[in-house]
């Protein structure tokens, strides 16, 4: 490897300049307001307030995003696995053409669709009742934390699957055939041979999904009632109702710490992998 290179710095400079001018510099103002009192003294009062008012919401947000990320990962592995390992051509074709569609639906529209789909008298329950799978009285509304998770997973699975299926398509088929010839089941081939080869791709997809879900306002706003709710809704509420940027930014710092922690865990893992290779 080259030593700390000037070329490297030069290459990354434009991207850094962009982030610097369009996010870091404006963010400076935000951070100052999050960490100072009105008198200008450094303090953590805004974090204290954020914690007092929104501790439940912080936990709620973590819960939603973690569960959604895990489910997204599982379903994406399943779909990408079928695309790679299935021996039924029509199933592959159908699935390949189907799974991608939610990718093109903006979050806000996804939220609107889910709100009318998952409601107590929404299209889903109505279909179940019409098919005789359910009595009308059993119908319940999913417009709470479950609704948020369903929407996130629905929206993010295509994103992760797209990356994962591509990576799986390019791994060496010989390793798969070898495993199959030795009599391993397809599930075992998927878990023991295919997944380890595409694990990094999966992680990048999941980290980006995690961060994206953390930043979406419209889904928690439109799918579920506001008690408890996710941090993005609280930030918007602090700003819109009180013009209180300080507390909103304190919540932003908390949100970024969560995102940063996950990214850091991934990058540590990545470095270890690199060392082993």
């Amino acid at each position: 490897m080259e030593r700390p290179s000037l070329i490297g710095l030069a290459l990354i400079a434009p991207a850094l300049a962009m982030i610097g001018a369009l996010f870091l510099y404006p963010l400076g103002f935000s951070l100052v307001s999050a960490f100072t009192e009105e008198s200008g003294r450094l303090s953590l009062t805004h974090f204290q307030k954020a914690y007092e008012l929104y501790s439940t919401d912080i936990l709620f947000t973590l819960f939603i995003v973690i569960v959604s990320t895990l489910l997204t990962g599982l379903i994406s592995i399943a779909i990408a696995g079928i695309l790679t390992l299935s021996e039924t051509p029509w199933l592959i074709t159908a699935l390949r053409n189907l799974y991608r569609w939610p990718l093109f639906i903006p979050f806000i529209v996804a939220a609107q669709c889910m709100r009318t789909f998952l409601a107590k008298n929404g299209l889903m329950n109505n279909s179940f009742v019409a098919l005789g799978l359910m009595e009308p009285l059993q119908a319940t509304s999913f417009l709470d934390w479950r609704g948020i998770i369903v929407t996130f997973v629905w929206k993010q699975v295509p994103f992760v699957t797209l990356m994962l299926a591509g990576a799986m398509a390019s791994i060496d088929r010989a390793t798969i055939e070898a495993g199959r010839n030795l009599g391993a089941s397809r599930l075992r081939v998927l878990i023991e041979i295919v997944l380890p080869q595409v694990f990094q791709t999966l992680l990048v997809g999941l980290v980006l999904s995690f961060v994206t879900m953390l930043s979406v306002l419209s889904v928690p706003m439109m799918v579920a009632g506001s008690q408890p709710t996710m941090l993005t809704v609280d930030m918007a509420f602090r700003i819109n109702s009180y013009g209180d940027y300080a507390t909103a930014n304190a919540l932003g710092v908390i949100s970024y710490l969560i995102a940063g922690t996950v990214a850091w865990i991934y990058l540590r893992h990545n470095v270890k992998q690199g060392a082993q290779a």
């Binding site: 007092e52 008298n121 506001s226 009180y242």
Partner: protein, 377 residues
């Protein structure tokens, strides 16, 4: 493909530069119907009387959030020393007070020919901030309870009756908390006025920070009340659940209610009731930014928009809003049927008795924050 991308991008550049000779930019907070009102009705009307002018309407989103965005944009322009690129703004009360305090608005009403047609208190006072001269009411809106008569035989007439009704009809009443829009906020401030004591002080001031301690009981009751209601996602969320028959009753904005009904999204027999001791309402204001270069044109636009003819035809007849100027000025401009339609569910008497203003800004914030601490947490 690169070439294709560049070509498409350049096309976009060209399109936006080809603006017409003179453009009047109107930014409006509120729901899509506000934008439609200007795009489809008021804009063309103004363009007809001012050849060569094009009216461009931009929506900034529903609720106080929409007005807040306008405030931020004007504020950023001011701090950068740039002229405002909005010529007319349509805003909520809370933002109007802030903007006047931050000197972002022009004092234009006194010179306006229609300026004297409004005497309502809210034309001079926005949640405790003196805004005389800076704003002109576009229309007045009101919150009320919407209910489905098929499911609710006799609708409750007051907050106290509603509380009992909810006990006997679990999960049949829905409102949107305080983070999802103003109809839920209105319901909560109405609750505090009803059970927190001294409603007049909340509306008129003076502000006393100790007052919020007296709301303990009212808020504790509200928390208990919330156990038996559905928290809906947003202003539209309440209407949405009424649409599918999942709740039987909920607080809504009257204008949104009529729009939804007209768009076929509510059962046609759904009705409104304004309960005592009162629920809040508020006007939307027309205002002119301090640094716009087209202040004359902007004032002419507002004059047209608040003329009795336009208020009668556009505001009342087409959009079912309560007029912004005093109702007596509309006499003779409007047929009886349209007038009666507007007051079919809520009579003028009921509106006068139970249509309240929101509490003044500091109490308003106290109520919201107390709700966050005591009820939602």
């Amino acid at each position: 493909m690169r070439k294709g991308l560049v070509a498409a991008g350049l096309a976009a550049l060209l399109m936006t530069n080809a603006a017409s000779a003179q453009t009047l930019n109107v930014a409006t907070a509120g729901d899509q119907n506000m934008v439609d009102y200007i795009k489809d009705y008021l804009g063309p009307l103004f363009e007809k009387s001012h050849p060569g002018v094009k009216v461009v309407a931009v929506g900034t989103g529903p609720g106080d959030g929409g007005s807040q965005k306008i405030f931020e944009k004007l504020d950023a322009q001011k701090k950068a020393g740039a002229a405002s690129d909005f010529d007319v703004v349509v805003i909520h009360q809370k933002a109007a007070g802030e903007m006047v305090k931050s000197q972002l608005l022009r004092k234009y009403r006194d010179a306006l020919p229609t300026g004297k047609l409004v005497t309502r208190e809210t034309a001079d006072n926005a949640l405790g901030t003196e805004v005389t001269g800076y704003v002109m009411p576009m229309f007045h809106s009101q919150t009320a309870l919407a209910y489905n008569p098929d499911l609710v035989k006799t609708a409750p007439g007051s907050y106290a009756e509603l509380r009992d009704w909810v006990k006997n009809n679990r999960k049949q009443f829905g409102y949107n908390g305080i983070k999802g829009g103003m109809s839920g906020v209105a319901f909560v401030t109405g609750w505090v006025s009803a059970f927190g004591g001294d409603a007049a002080k909340l509306e008129k001031g003076p502000y006393d920070a100790a007052t919020k301690a007296k709301w303990e009981k009212a808020l504790a009751d509200l928390k208990e009340f919330n156990q038996n209601v559905v928290i809906t996602p947003g202003n539209a969320g309440t209407l949405d659940m009424l649409n599918r028959g999942e709740i039987a009753m909920g607080p809504v904005w009257v204008d949104m209610f009529y729009t939804w009904k007209a768009e076929g999204k509510l059962p046609p027999n759904t009705r409104l009731k304004l309960i005592s001791p009162g629920m809040p309402g508020q006007p939307m204001y027309y205002a002119v930014p301090a640094t716009t270069k087209q202040d004359k044109l902007a004032a002419e636009f507002v004059a047209l928009a608040t003329s009795p003819e336009v208020q009668a035809e556009g505001i009342v007849k087409r959009f079912n809003w309560y007029p912004g100027i005093d109702a007596k000025n509309l006499e003779g401009k409007l047929d009886k049927a349209a007038w009666n339609q507007l007051f079919a569910d809520i009579t003028p008497d009921s509106l006068a008795a139970n249509g309240k203003p929101f509490p003044i800004a500091p109490y308003f914030n106290d109520i919201l924050e107390s709700y966050e601490k005591k009820v939602a947490n």
